[in-house]
């Protein structure tokens, strides 16, 4: 089903979502006016584009990459070099279109590395991308002119050459520039999923043998998808370079590649809006939690591991799965079991957070006996009582959660039966 033969109502609904997204992007800086929140929202835009480009691989084509930051980072470095060239008077190119430089760079490296990596699928492909990612990161030591060595490359985004009468010095002007690029890139990536190429990528993901039997070249489908994903990752890198005005070698590295994988997976691979949720949530948690706790990486890791185990379709998957009961008017039947699960979930979380925070306090603080403030209480990490309470809360919470989980899955069975009965009546 392509966009053109969608029924009129669905087309309207699709455009309504996009228009709503544009309105939200325009209004946000008037709601959250502080410069730190505008900076955070700008970062969200950058990572939305990056995560969506990653989902073109993992979600759309089933290609698990451990080296996607290569295209993001190289795109960013190229953009920053281009901006420096404009500032030096060596070149003239409007700042608004600078992310294109990054995009073309990402596309170029996507084509180069794509030719060697996309001939394989599955775990071999994942290993090749890991190797390329590590190789490019290690090569930053060799090409110090391009990567700038330890300190990286920095530049000034305020150039004299712009299309619109803005200087892009103030944070909010950059926010709107990133917002515009985010909408355009996201829309293009969305439309791409509706093209024959997007469908072919899905076919190659779901059943490569059959796709081959029907007569498609699976390697070619993977390659084109990979190169285009490099293009959008490069655009995201260019936006990152404009936002931060500095690029360092770790931006092309394995940790950056890992974080986009986390974002995309947590958001959900199955739905187009999944990576958007993931990018917004992870960026928010990154900024909010890293100020609150030493252990934000641990919270991330735990969240990711638990999601791989219990929620493999991510947040978007959970949302999508509630669509049919909602349409059937059966959502109210989940109210009781969900409410029953909510309390033990909070208890488990509180116990876990208390244990982790007390642990960090004991190992990292200069004075472990100094009480820490948590949930509005003063907690002493050195006292046995606090540990007993935390462990007990966690243990009781986990047991109650398991009980609530069986209730929920029983209720799901009932609701599914009720929906089947409704369908049979029609």
């Amino acid at each position: 089903m392509s966009t053109s033969n969608l029924p009129g109502g669905a087309l309207l609904r699709h455009s309504a979502i996009w228009i709503a997204a544009i309105v939200v992007i325009i209004v946000m800086p008037y709601v959250f006016t502080s410069s730190s929140s505008i900076s955070m929202m700008s970062q969200m835009g950058v990572f939305i584009v990056f995560a969506l480009s990653y989902n073109m691989l993992l979600g759309e084509a089933g290609m698990l990459s451990f080296g996607h930051a290569v295209y993001f980072g190289l795109g960013g470095f190229l953009t920053l070099h281009a901006i420096r060239a404009v500032n030096d008077g060596a070149w003239s190119f409007p700042l608004e279109l600078m992310p294109l430089v990054g995009g073309l760079g990402g596309l170029f490296f996507g084509v180069v590395f794509g030719t060697v990596s996309t001939r394989r699928a599955g775990v071999t492909f994942a290993m090749i991308t890991l190797g390329i990612g590590a190789m490019v990161e290690a090569s930053a030591n060799m090409f110090t002119n391009f990567f700038g060595g330890e300190s990286g490359i920095s530049g000034n985004r305020v150039t004299d050459v712009t299309l619109l009468p803005f200087s892009y010095g103030p944070q909010v002007e950059v926010y709107y520039l990133i917002g515009a690029w985010t909408v355009v890139s996201a829309l293009l990536m969305f439309l791409l999923t509706k093209t024959p190429l997007g469908r072919m990528a899905n076919a190659v993901r779901d059943n490569p043998e059959r796709a081959q039997f029907v007569g498609y070249n699976t390697t070619m489908a993977r390659f084109i998808q990979f190169a285009l994903s490099g293009l959008f990752a490069g655009i995201a890198g260019g936006l990152f370079a404009i936002l931060f005005e500095i690029m360092t070698a770790p931006n092309v590295g394995l940790i950056q590649s890992g974080s986009v994988l986390l974002m995309t997976f947590i958001g959900g691979l199955g739905a187009f809006f999944g990576p958007i949720i993931g990018a917004v949530l992870v960026t928010y948690m990154h900024i909010a939690l890293s100020g609150f706790s030493e252990g934000w990486i641990l919270y991330f890791g735990l969240m990711f591991v638990l999601m791989v185990m219990y929620v493999p379709n991510g947040i978007a998957g959970v949302i999508v799965s509630h669509g049919p009961p909602l349409r059937a008017g059966l959502m109210h039947r989940f109210a009781v079991p969900y409410a029953l699960a909510f309390v033990p979930a909070l208890l488990t979380l509180a116990g876990l957070v208390a244990m982790i925070e007390m642990g960090y306090h004991l190992s990292l603080s200069y004075d472990p006996s100094r009480p820490i403030e948590l949930f509005g209480m003063e907690i002493t990490a050195t006292s046995v009582v606090s540990w007993v309470v935390a462990v007990a809360a966690f243990g009781v919470g986990v047991m109650a959660l398991r009980w609530a989980a069986t209730r929920i899955s029983l209720r799901w069975g009932e609701v599914n039966q009720a929906m089947d009965a409704q369908r049979a009546k029609q």
Binding site: R119, T124, M127, A134, L261, G295, I297, V305, V308, Y360
Partner: protein, 312 residues
């Protein structure tokens, strides 16, 4: 010149054997279970930290025995609680699970032992000079590492090829249903294999933690390179891992020792080249990149690795 070659050779073999101690467990887990354990280097780090804590009480020899067992038990727990549940979602989900585990274990290590390096020392009984060559000393502990690595290779090989347990393990990889039908508990065999593999990583950590430095970054320093070794040698192949470890160990050690560029070499035979070009880059800077280049090349041209029997 001879002196530096001999020492590069010794150090390269030593580094290679350390890599092998890590890689053997990883390749074993992959060969038996089909799981690429991203967190393998994290278990290696756990081994070093556990050895540090145990050696405070029981000394190095107690740590040498107990720390791998502790790490192996943690591995068994990981397999039983996590990996087994993820198994039904396929290999990519398993890969993602172990990938997330890296974040969790690395941070838990910081949580328990702190961010600073811990003072995990070489035991006094092994702190002497084994022999001197060209005026430089070769410490006995390095000899001990070499000995342990060789013993480990022999022990694993004999276990897998010569014993009944090894036969069942190999059979449950290729014919899990048949092994199950014969009355063996296949999931328990998998738990055992994962525990054994992570225990080997723990042993490598006990040996390497005091040779290098025991600090929270040690897993990240080793993680990618162990993957290179296992992929290069052929996933699941023990002898492949041995050969690949030695190759990678020697290549990186020799590259680091090369203090001249291709342009210098060309200049010595009379061809002048600008020092600013790619050829002017000091060869030692290629060192960190070489293993990954080798890995990418072998994946492209021979995806089953040097001695692997099948593609992943």
């Amino acid at each position: 010149m001879i002196e530096s070659v001999v020492f590069s050779l010794l150090n390269g073999v030593l580094y290679g054997m350390l890599l092998f101690m890590l890689a053997s467990g990883l390749t074993l887990i992959f060969g038996m279970m089909g799981v690429l354990n991203f967190a393998h280097a994290s278990f290696y780090m756990l081994g070093a930290y556990c050895a540090y804590s145990i050696s405070q009480v029981l000394g190095f020899w107690g740590a040498l025995v107990l720390a791998p067992i502790v790490v192996g038990l943690l591995g068994a727990l990981t397999e039983r609680v996590g990996l087994r549940n993820v198994h039904k979602h396929g290999h990519v989900a398993e890969l993602l699970f172990t990938f997330g585990l890296v974040y969790v274990i690395d941070e838990l290590v910081v949580l328990v032992w702190g961010q600073l390096p811990v003072n995990y020392r070489i035991p006094e009984a092994l702190d002497f000079t084994l022999f001197s060559l060209y005026g430089s000393d070769f410490p006995a502990y390095r000899g001990f590492i070499l000995f342990m690595a060789v013993a480990m290779f022999a022990a694993i090989y004999l276990l897998l090829v010569r014993t009944r347990v090894g036969m069942i393990i190999r059979a449950s990889l290729s014919h899990p249903d048949m092994v199950g039908a014969l009355g063996h508990n296949v999931p328990r065999i998998f738990t055992f294999v994962f525990a054994f593999g992570t225990g080997l990583a723990g042993l490598a950590g006990v040996m390497a933690g005091n040779y290098f430095i025991t600090e929270p970054g040690m897993a990240f320093a080793m993680g990618p390179i162990v993957f290179v070794v296992v992929v290069f040698g052929g996933l699941g192949s023990l002898s492949g891992a041995l050969v690949a470890s030695l190759v990678i160990g020697l290549v990186t050690t020799f590259a680091v020792g090369m203090n001249y560029s291709i342009a210098d070499m060309l200049a010595s035979v009379g061809i002048a080249f600008g020092q600013d070009s790619v050829l002017g880059i000091n060869l030692s800077r290629f060192g960190p990149m070489l293993p990954y280049l080798l890995m990418v090349l072998i994946l492209i041209f021979r995806p089953r690795g040097l001695m692997g029997s099948r593609e992943s």
